[in-house]
Subunit: 446 residues, 2 copies
């Protein structure tokens, strides 16, 4: 028979079982953390009509999108979870309660140029809070708390949430005489870290900000940015509103459980998209700033203007889980202690009649243990080696002697310790050890 090479497309993540377990653990913890904050799950289709998906998009999006015809339909694969959310909220407006808080963890598609660490299919984990007409500033203050709890629950300790406010930035630009090249000014200060202060000043000098470049750089470099901003109060309405918002957000972070070590106001953050109108967020891994932001987002004023005349302001963030997993693996931050075996106990019957082993498996499953029964016709050594290679923590042996005595023998595969006792007693012991192992976090800093 002519055979096809069993290949997975480049840019598509496909994991071996032991890695998949860690990936799923990350996904589950992100989900639980989002749920703890009262977000409701949503699952929208991966395929939408191109008209809906591209109502707003242009440029890069159009180029990267997977778009195709099926019958008379012009279809496309979603490239983010925000556009489907906008469609969903517009379509179901009358049936939702606002503020509408939803999370979605799902795959999105972008036909980017293939390169290491870039994925064409990847998971996004999004939360958004959508208001009907208006949405209070406390929602923007709560977002860093979600980010903080989420990454802590993954096991990450060293990270910083950077905050800024687009109104502050736009107001400041107006005060300092920036005219219609504000996007260019923004791009320039965004490079500050890389190119240094002198080069930044030179580049800014060529823009409309001109002589005020030094003043701007002073504010950006301020140890206490909020205090530095105070000096500009009362000159521009947008600026004043933005500063008030920034203060409201930072004022509540302690009560929201975010320690000072884990956030910083950073006036150089803008988040490219024009879309954002208030607080913006980025999250950096302290030991690996080269990774870039692992969780970003912000406040926007109009989620669904392409679909409805309702004004739907919101605030949201997104974690690019596939890329995050890839880079964490790459820099060695995935926790090797995560229990990756598909079962807690592997039962190896030592008799010809499998019935007692089957009954034991049923009892262990009823007790909540993930149990596999090994009944293949192999040598004992091969069976133990199977358990070993899968990383199974416990092997239960059931021979004539055990069956006669109403007992089982359990081997702890880590310690090598072997115990023979009544099944119920051993099951209880295994349960306790397994429950402890299940608290293992997917990330571990060394």
């Amino acid at each position: 028979m002519a055979r096809v090479k069993p290949q997975t497309l480049s840019g598509f993540m496909e994991l071996l079982p032991e890695k998949q377990v860690v990936f799923d653990l990350m996904s589950a913890r992100i989900r639980s953390s989002f749920e703890l904050y009262g977000f409701t799950p949503l699952d929208t289709p991966i395929i939408e009509s191109s008209e809906v998906l591209l109502a707003k998009a242009g440029g890069e999006t159009e180029k990267q999108i997977y778009r195709f015809a099926k019958g008379e339909h012009d279809l496309a694969l979603r490239f983010d979870l925000t556009v489907p959310l906008a469609k969903y909220v517009a379509a179901n407006y009358g049936r939702l309660q606002f503020p509408f808080r939803r999370y979605q963890i799902g795959k999105v598609y972008r036909g980017e140029r293939a390169q290491r660490g870039r994925f064409r299919e990847f998971y996004q984990c999004d939360i958004d809070i959508i208001g009907d007409g208006e949405l209070g500033i406390m929602n923007e203050a709560e977002i860093p708390s979600v980010i903080y709890s989420t990454f802590k629950s993954l096991g990450l300790e060293g990270f910083v949430i950077r905050l800024n406010n687009r109104k502050v930035l736009n107001g400041l630009f107006a005060i300092l005489g920036v005219s219609d090249d504000s996007a260019e000014v923004m791009r320039t200060i965004d490079k500050l870290d890389k190119i240094g202060r002198d080069e930044t000043r030179r580049l800014l000098g060529e823009l409309s900000i001109g002589n005020n470049a030094e003043k701007l750089l002073d504010i950006l470099a301020a140890e206490a940015p909020v205090e530095a901003l105070e000096a500009f109060s009362g000159q521009n309405e947008t600026f004043d509103k933005g500063l008030e918002e920034l203060k409201a957000v930072t004022a509540h972070l302690a009560a929201f459980g975010v320690p000072e070590t884990h956030y910083a106001v950073d006036l150089t953050i803008a988040r490219g998209l024009d879309y954002y109108t208030g607080t913006v967020y980025e999250t950096l891994v302290t030991a690996h700033p080269e990774i870039g932001s692992v969780c970003s987002g912000g406040r926007y004023d109009n989620l669904a203007e392409y679909y409805t005349d309702k004004k739907l302001p919101g605030v949201g963030i997104s974690i690019g889980l596939t890329r995050l997993f890839f880079v964490l693996d790459d820099v060695g931050l995935l926790n090797a202690e995560v229990q990756s075996a598909p079962c807690d106990v592997l039962i190896i019957p030592m008799t010809g009649d499998f019935s007692p082993a089957v009954a034991l498996a049923t009892a262990m499953r009823e007790a909540g243990l993930r149990t596999q029964l090994y009944t293949e016709d192999k040598k004992f050594k091969a069976k133990m080696s199977y358990a070993d290679r899968l990383g199974v923590p416990f092997v239960a042996l059931l021979g004539e002697d055990e069956i006669a005595a109403g007992k089982i023998t359990v081997k702890n595969m880590k310690t090598g310790e072997q115990t023979t006792a009544k099944a119920g007693m051993l099951t209880e012991g295994i349960r306790e050890r397994i429950a402890a192992a299940r608290d293992t976090k997917p990330i571990r800093e060394i």
Copy 2:
């Protein structure tokens, strides 16, 4: 601004939040049940190269598949989870341990003609056990146990797993003189329930089985099919092997925890595909046989022959979750008692300063309660109505008096009962009630 109508494509399920919660609960319970049996999770790409995906397919599959070009690539969306599994096992053969037991819950795509209850994007929940070269019969005996536990964990009580064995059927056909029209004979007896015995006998009379039609119909109608089959032992090797397998499978079902009320050998079941070579399974909802099988599968001898010369026999089943959810909803079997609110507690601050409410929210989240803080500028009545419409079980009120006394007031939204006490005490009470509610099963028979 010209607006696009926010439409979801027909044949694509998109649920309102309260239904999505029930769907997710079903999915989570299926996942847990699969894990209890020692299956490892897998997540393969939704897009594969057409060459890989269509290595075997033909006919209907080719017509229904979503296939498109992107750059120079000929791509397609997976139409099931079995072909990607075959590719995966062939590609990773040397890195997997056999028997390889995996589950996958994921979306698949078929561009079927749109009609009510038919979906073009739908979830499949699959388990498969793959052997390297060979795979023992006990794996086939275990599958009904997984089906049983899974549907029980969903809350379904009235269902029957129907079992058959393809070798028995093929052997029996050979004994009764069926020649190369065995597929036609099969299709005819498959209609027995609908068209009745007389019409079936007439149709069979026109086929190669001819005068033996009556004999076949007697076996199919036998009260004790296994005993009826015994009479044909020793005449055909395939038949004898099949009967031995069928007896081995049924012999262990009691030890596997499957009661006699929940399974039946049914010789009319063939599962269309040629693919199956041993035990085959179907699952019917007792009160709604019109739904058809809600979980089917069987034993096959060669999973990945289009990709590798390794012989990889296996056994697997699949639940079409999207359709199952749709029909359960349709016949009124979804449990209205499932807690669909996005949070366990909604905190309503009654003071201008939100800090104490924020701190309370943080404490409640740390205690594991899904907590939402309501800080929008609305009338009290609107806030309570928001909680009510979301079905939030508890509302926590925090006014000047409470703050001064170091207490909170909690209203049980179901009973209307209102209690003022220390936060810690109330939190504990809420936790207990919520934990009980979380055990609610997604299906409830009336």
